[in-house]
């Protein structure tokens, strides 16, 4: 019985920790949207989250850690959302991949400015948010495994030829490129992004199906 109690206590602690993390993120996102990512101070975030600044540092050492947590939450949410879309699982690969990127864009739309700022920061070689930093690797791997599974299913169904691990990497880069385009897209309802996404996926799919990929 005792071990169970310990487990329950640690489970509760973990839950509380997660709750505080989310509360901090919510407060931070609100401030980022008002003042911008760069101009918001950690003091303002802790005040808004009604915690001591020291407590904030226990959870997130820097604003970059907060941003990483944001993207982790978004990725978890996106994967869960995709798992719930039973109809989509029967759709052709291009539609699935379209839905993943579009679903992601829908999720981050309220935080567009923040995402733009994070993208800029991520370009700096010493930033934790940089694609090559060790801090982002765990997140990258989760994403790659998620995409890889979808591509493998398509391979098994004969929708595309075998791509190996490269397919997931390539799609990941494409995903990032689309978000960059989306951030700059000033068309009404960002419909240019939709057209670009649809056409590029169809073109890629068509090239793969025609066997141009095999060498």
């Amino acid at each position: 019985m005792t071990p169970l109690k310990v487990k329950s206590r640690s489970g509760k602690r973990a839950k509380n920790k997660e709750k505080t993390q989310r509360e901090i993120l919510r407060a931070a996102l609100e401030l980022f949207s008002k003042k911008g990512f760069f101009r918001t101070t950690t003091k303002e975030i802790s005040d808004k989250a009604k915690i001591a600044e020291g407590t904030l540092f226990n959870y997130f050492k820097t604003k970059e850690d907060l941003a990483l947590y944001f993207f982790e939450q978004e990725l978890v949410g996106l994967i869960e959302w995709y798992r719930d879309q039973k109809k989509l699982h029967e759709a052709p690969l291009t539609e699935k991949l379209f839905a993943i990127i579009h679903g992601h864009l829908e999720r981050i739309t309220p935080y567009e400015e923040f995402v733009g700022a994070v993208y800029l920061r991520a370009l700096q070689p010493l930033s934790k948010l940089n694609l090559l930093s060790l801090d982002t690797q765990e997140l990258n791997l989760r994403y790659l495994r998620f995409v890889q599974q979808i591509l493998r299913d398509a391979e098994v169904k004969g929708e595309i030829p075998k791509l190996g691990d490269f397919g997931a990497y390539a799609f990941g880069l494409f995903h990032l490129a689309i978000i960059s385009y989306w951030l700059q897209d000033s068309s009404a309802g960002k419909e240019n992004t939709l057209a670009l996404l649809d056409r590029s996926l169809k073109l890629t799919n068509s090239i793969l199906r025609k066997g141009a990929w095999e060498w």
């Binding site: 759709a91 379209f98 009404a188 309802g189 419909e191 939709l194 057209a195």
Partner: protein, 449 residues
């Protein structure tokens, strides 16, 4: 390059290659044909030209069918307006519908949200993710409003307007060989571009629908949808659902009797004539899929994106035909010729006389006078279509093209093609008189949206 070149419809780049290829192939063979002309006698020239026509017709049809994009309509109109195609190919071209790339359910839903700000499931009680029809520049989905009304929701492919603008930039360069031969003026391309760009604005189409529903009220057998303005934007058009089968399905199923086909044909002609003479604006997309026929003979008219509004000169021209103005003397006949072909035609009296005679003969063939004894016109035998092509051929060869005719000719030929498909035998003069006898809504050019 090889891979992109094999692409048919998906990308601007692929489309560019195909348009370029089409232009190049035509340039090559067209110039070759012109060059050979110098060395051939009249008999050989005619044979050579026929061979060229057949080859070009096949080529243009295949290319336009594979393009399916916004550029198809220009290709369709240019081909129909040029004398390089035989009647059989022209008739098929009239049936081509401008299609944008198909959207999968996720894209259609995303585009709906991008334009209306909410997902379909948030604003409709029920929304069918799969489209039930292709429409110009988009596709149509069935849905039920929160009030329980059945509607058709037309969703436009994203960013199609900029794609069209790009295509016209390309076309202006690849259409050069056609312009070189003197058949396609810049004014013609500009008129077609104007018409197609107008089609990208669904709010404009909604206004057209409201206008035509009111103006076509005198015809109790024509049904035009209602627009749900609160669920429409420039890229989303929500309309009441119109039942009925597309004309081709109606003809295919159950093989309607000659009597029904005649009645339907007569109604189509009557509706066209009312638009021409009473409303002064026509539904200019005569694709058979835009006519939904119910078992009781009611005609549902859909797709009002392409509407041609007439200029004052064009209205005068139509009146001149109705009044057989040429019978009033030479002065009137000259004015009549100027209305059709422009002032320049006066400087070519021989050509003017020939063209005028053809136009008058054609009109008499279409609308024989009551006392001529030939009251019923048989559209099934293809004579009308063939004569119309021959007239265009002569107009184009004599460089007497009028841009005002770009969409009108397409609509008129589309109508005769429908009547031909129906195999309708119609007392055309009686149908026209019916239009005159009906109390029409008073309207002028300025009232047209």
């Amino acid at each position: 390059m090889g891979v992109v070149k094999r692409e048919k419809t998906e990308t601007g780049m692929g489309r560019g290659f195909r348009i370029g290829k089409l232009g190049l192939a035509l340039t090559g063979s067209y110039l070759g044909y012109q060059f050979q002309n110098l060395f051939l006698d009249e008999h050989e020239r005619s044979g050579k030209r026929k061979a060229y026509q057949t080859k070009a017709a096949h080529y243009i049809r295949a290319e336009l069918e594979s393009l399916k994009g916004p550029v198809m309509k220009l290709g369709q109109i240019l081909s129909m307006q040029s004398h390089i195609l035989p009647p059989e190919a022209l008739s098929e071209l009239a049936n081509l519908q401008m299609r944008a790339p198909a959207m999968h359910p996720t894209l259609a839903r995303a585009q709906f949200k991008a334009s209306l700000g909410k997902f379909p499931e948030e604003v409709f009680r029920d929304f069918c993710a799969e489209p039930f029809a292709a429409a110009s520049l988009g596709q149509v989905h069935r849905a039920v409003t929160k009030d329980g009304l059945e509607v058709a929701v037309k969703i436009q492919y994203p960013a199609i307007r900029s794609a069209i603008e790009d295509d016209f930039k390309l076309l202006r360069s690849v259409a050069f060989p056609v312009r070189l031969a003197g058949h396609t003026a810049e004014a013609m391309i500009a008129e077609v571009e104007r018409g197609i760009l107008e089609e990208t604005d669904y709010l404009n189409e909604g206004q057209n629908i409201d206008f035509f529903r009111e103006q076509l009220q005198p015809l109790d057998y024509v049904r035009v949808p209602f627009v749900h303005w609160d669920l429409s934007t420039a890229k989303i058009l929500t309309m009441s659902f119109i039942p009925g089968k597309p004309l081709q399905d109606f003809l295919g199923n159950g093989k309607p009797s000659q009597d029904i086909r005649n009645r339907l044909g007569s109604r189509l002609l009557e509706s066209f004539s009312l638009q021409l003479h009473g409303i002064h604006a026509i539904h200019a997309d005569p694709h058979p899929g835009n006519y939904l026929i119910e078992t009781d003979g009611t005609i549902g008219l859909v797709d009002f994106g392409c509407v041609k509004r007439f200029t004052a000169e064009f209205i005068e021209l139509n009146r001149a035909f109705r009044e057989r103005i040429w019978l009033r003397g030479e002065e009137h006949a000259r004015r009549f010729a100027c209305l059709i072909w422009g002032e320049d035609v006066v400087s070519k009296p021989q050509i003017a006389e020939k063209l005028l005679k053809q136009a008058i003969d054609f009109y008499e063939m279409l609308f024989p006078e009551a006392n001529s004894g030939a009251n019923v016109v048989d559209f099934g035998d293809g004579k009308i279509l063939k004569t119309m092509f021959r007239i265009w051929d002569d107009c184009l060869r004599n460089k007497t093209i009028n841009p005002e005719f770009a969409f009108y000719s397409r609509a008129e030929m589309g109508l005769y093609n429908l009547l031909h498909v129906l195999g309708a035998k119609i007392n055309t003069s009686a149908a026209l008189k019916k239009v005159d006898d009906r109390p029409t809504k008073k309207c002028g050019q300025d009232q047209i949206p």
